[in-house]
């Protein structure tokens, strides 16, 4: 599994379609047919990855939205991104 750091550039997997149902994000990888439910944080992260961006820039934007401690938030985001990469929802450049 690729190690994701703050300098890593990540982006949405183009094979993943996403939609909103009752304020929840559902996503499907059309290559393998698997579908996923993204929680609120996962949905926000997925929304912010319309184009490739570094994890660092993602942390900065979410820090302002969540008004959270940056270090703890970044660790959580790195964890989320690792899971999302494992599920094929995002790609690591």
């Amino acid at each position: 599994m690729t190690t994701i750091t703050l300098e890593t550039v990540v982006r949405r997997n183009g094979d993943v379609y996403a939609g909103v149902v009752d304020n929840e994000t559902v996503a499907m990888n059309v290559q393998n047919g698997k579908y996923y439910h993204l929680n609120e944080t996962g949905s926000r992260i997925f929304d912010l990855l319309a184009g490739p961006r570094s994890v660092q820039s993602l942390c900065e934007e979410l820090k302002n939205q969540f008004r959270a401690d940056e270090s703890a938030l970044c660790q959580d985001i790195l964890g989320f991104l690792g899971e999302m990469a494992g599920m094929g929802l995002i790609l690591v450049d």
Binding site: V21, D22, E24, M28, V30, G33, Y35, H37
Partner: protein, 321 residues
């Protein structure tokens, strides 16, 4: 069902918003005058030829715009372009099985190739709008539908609820005027009906035509019910939302296994997520000891009363029970 499967003349009929020209006559569907070219042609033809050896068990091969159903003993069926079904019967192939493959997987292939949204469900109309019951095979969907028909409802289809999302509200399109019932359900039917024959030979589930109960106009979709057998002690209802709602609808797409290429999956995902965003979905947990279809029907109608002012179909008592 001793007639030849294929007719000398073509039969034209309407179903699911499409016009068909078919070399097979389906006894439950009346012929109709269709001006112009049909949307779908069903014909006999050669796919592999006489030297072909069928597989030991049915194989389904799907790719964009093409579906190949390779039956073990019945027929090979090719569905292409969303407008053509070609059937090559195998020697001694059971006519009933071939008919069911055409009305099942082949028709499902047509729906998906045309970008339509079919649910494996019964669709019932109360004269104003419709409700849809999704359920796996053997859950009792058809006998429940018959109980609603006894209460004055009409039906759009007993097997496929074809949903059109292109209007202000989602609507269900009229399908085929056929009920599929076990023979022990027939004495309880309180409306005119005609037994066409077994769904396939050696099978006690029957094809039943009930034209007077068929709803010939599309109807707005008010609610989807998803029936699930459980080990519970009583019937319960829960409103689904979000990802759970999406998942329930996706699991009940008719012919879902036929959708195996990325383009078709992406299109289906968009349709199902749009439907999930626009329609209410209620899960019904059915207990281990099933209530009678009539009792279940009244429980559902009473549940609906609690949600909205539902106009009653003729003959239904407000008190239910």
């Amino acid at each position: 069902m001793n007639q030849d499967l294929f007719s000398d003349s073509m039969h034209s009929f309407r179903a699911y918003g499409l016009t068909f020209s078919s070399a097979i006559r389906f006894a439950h569907v009346p012929d109709a005058e269709i001006p112009g070219e049909p949307d779908v042609r069903i014909s006999r033809g050669e796919i592999f030829g006489p030297a072909y050896s069928p597989p030991p068990a049915i194989v389904v091969e799907s790719s964009p715009g093409k579906l190949l159903i390779r039956g073990a003993r019945s027929a090979t069926i090719q569905v292409s372009g969303g407008d053509r079904i070609v059937i090559e019967p195998l020697p001694g192939g059971d006519q009933g099985v071939i008919r069911q493959l055409v009305l099942g997987w082949a028709l499902g292939g047509i729906f998906h190739q045309r970008g339509m949204l079919p649910l494996h469900a019964s669709a019932l109309c109360d004269g104003r709008d419709c409700i849809v019951f999704c359920a796996g095979s053997g859950t009792g969907k058809s006998t429940l539908a018959a109980a609603f028909l006894n209460q004055g409802f009409t039906y759009l289809d007993d097997n496929v609820a074809l949903v059109d999302l292109g209007q202000r509200v989602p609507v269900v399109v009229p399908g085929a005027p056929e009920l599929r019932l076990w023979d022990d359900a027939l004495p309880g039917l309180a409306f005119e009906h005609r037994v066409v024959g077994p769904i396939r030979s050696g099978f006690s589930k029957l094809s039943v035509a009930a034209r007077e109960k068929f709803c010939e106009k599309e109807a707005p979709l008010r609610r989807v019910f998803v029936l699930r057998r459980t080990a519970d002690r009583e019937v319960s209802f829960s409103e689904l939302a979000g990802a759970g709602k999406f998942r329930s609808l996706m699991e009940h797409v008719f012919g879902l296994r036929l959708v195996s290429d990325p383009i078709s999956r992406g299109r289906l995902f968009q349709l199902v997520s749009e439907l999930a965003a626009r329609v209410a979905v209620t899960a019904i947990r059915l207990p281990a000891k099933m209530p009678s279809p009539e009792t279940l029907c009244h429980l559902i109608l009473n549940h609906e009363l609690g949600h909205n002012d539902m106009s009653r179909a003729g003959g239904h008592s407000p008190e239910g029970g």
